[in-house]
Symmetry: C2
Subunit: 202 residues, 2 copies
DNA sequence: TCCGTTGGATAGTCTCGCTCTCCAATATTG
DNA sequence: CAATATTGGAGAGCGAGACTATCCAACGGA
């Protein structure tokens, strides 16, 4: 297909497609002549992935680039690759330290694995710091309700990955992490609403 | 306290504090003389709230303003106020339509309350659209694992609100929604990691 | 007394994410 | 076959957002 079709089918303006190509996020189409280049279904899928991360999740393009780079070149350790890939998603923290006291304590009490190289540890530490600063309860007992629910969810989510190659697993896991998060958060808010409305109605 | 102390205790640069005051997000201190103004603990709390929403959650200042406005002037219906307040948090959607087919179907099957005025409905619809576009499973059975977990979490979270006045409840609910979300997401990622590492170790 | 700090206003800066303009070459249409 | 439209590609330009730097007159502390 030509660039105008690619644009129509993805909903991304032609000028923006060109911009993504220039930025190296989307490969150039196969050049047929000076005024023709052919784009494949793979280009479309890639473009939709970029749009999903950038528009739906609101990732800055620099983060989208990071995620794409990890998808393109997963290294030998798929767990480490996955860790870095989901680390590119919000909330953004600089993993500059190697000691995360709040997160370490919480993770220990909750029976999870503490690995300072995994970005989620820094994210948790930062989130707990913010809770404390705002005067909300950040102690392990209050966190238990979240960790129990999340372990259950995580176990069900990982089941489909059992039969995948690592080349398939990384984009799947990144997309899944990125795109199910808003679903989960919306359902939490809807559950609050449901409980409040129900409580008032009676 | 003076502005320099306010700045130190909050970690926000003086120039930025001035900027927030100019933008009307933070009230001016009580003017004592041409070169002195007195800031209270409430100013500090407000500033920390702004910093939590803007820095930790990465909200655009326009959204922070929306949240603050709702905290400052909750209207007569606390549930509607709460709905609009959490609607100011990401993910951002314009609630322009009044029909959200995917969300409506999912909410119906999951036994929740469908209310098109509640922003989370639009957020869910958008999130499901993105899932479909990416080829991931957005059907109600796949969503069940999230809704079950979220209902359980939501019920435990609402318990402390029973004894609050509505003036207390709105900021509490907004802050809680905003600040526990990253905790929950980090724990989900940690649970994935834990399960993967554990599975590999054996 | 005198230097450093303060509150307050204005203008400047930097990044991001496009979007606009241009161009020559090629398709398409009448 | 001529006239017109469209294409791929490159560069510069732009508008929003969020600060940040400069300036200034008026204090206040040593």
């Amino acid at each position: 297909m030509k660039i105008s079709e690619l644009s129509e089918r993805s909903g991304v303006p032609v000028a923006t497609v060109k911009f993504y190509i220039r930025e190296g996020m989307l490969p150039r189409g196969e050049v047929l002549s000076t005024t023709r280049a052919e784009y494949s279904e793979e280009h479309l899928a890639r473009l939709r992935l970029i749009a999903a991360l950038a528009d739906v999740r609101g990732l800055p393009l620099s983060r989208v680039r990071d995620v794409l780079a990890l998808i393109d070149a997963p290294d030998d350790d798929p767990i480490a690759t996955l860790g870095r890939a989901v680390g590119a998603l919000p909330p953004y923290v600089e993993a500059d330290r190697d000691d995360y006291p709040r997160a370490r304590a919480a993770i220990g009490e909750l029976g999870l694995t503490y690995d300072p190289d995994f970005t989620a540890v820094a994210q948790l530490d930062e989130a707990l710091r913010a809770l404390e600063a705002a005067g909300l309860d950040a102690a392990p007992p209050a966190l238990r309700r979240y960790s129990d629910a999340m372990r259950q969810v995580a176990a069900e989510e990982l089941a489909p990955m059992a039969g995948m190659s690592r080349a398939e697993a990384v984009p799947y896991a990144v997309l899944g992490t990125a795109l199910y998060e808003p679903v989960m958060l919306a359902l939490r808010r809807l559950a609050h609403h449901h409980l409040l409305v129900e409580g008032r109605g009676r």
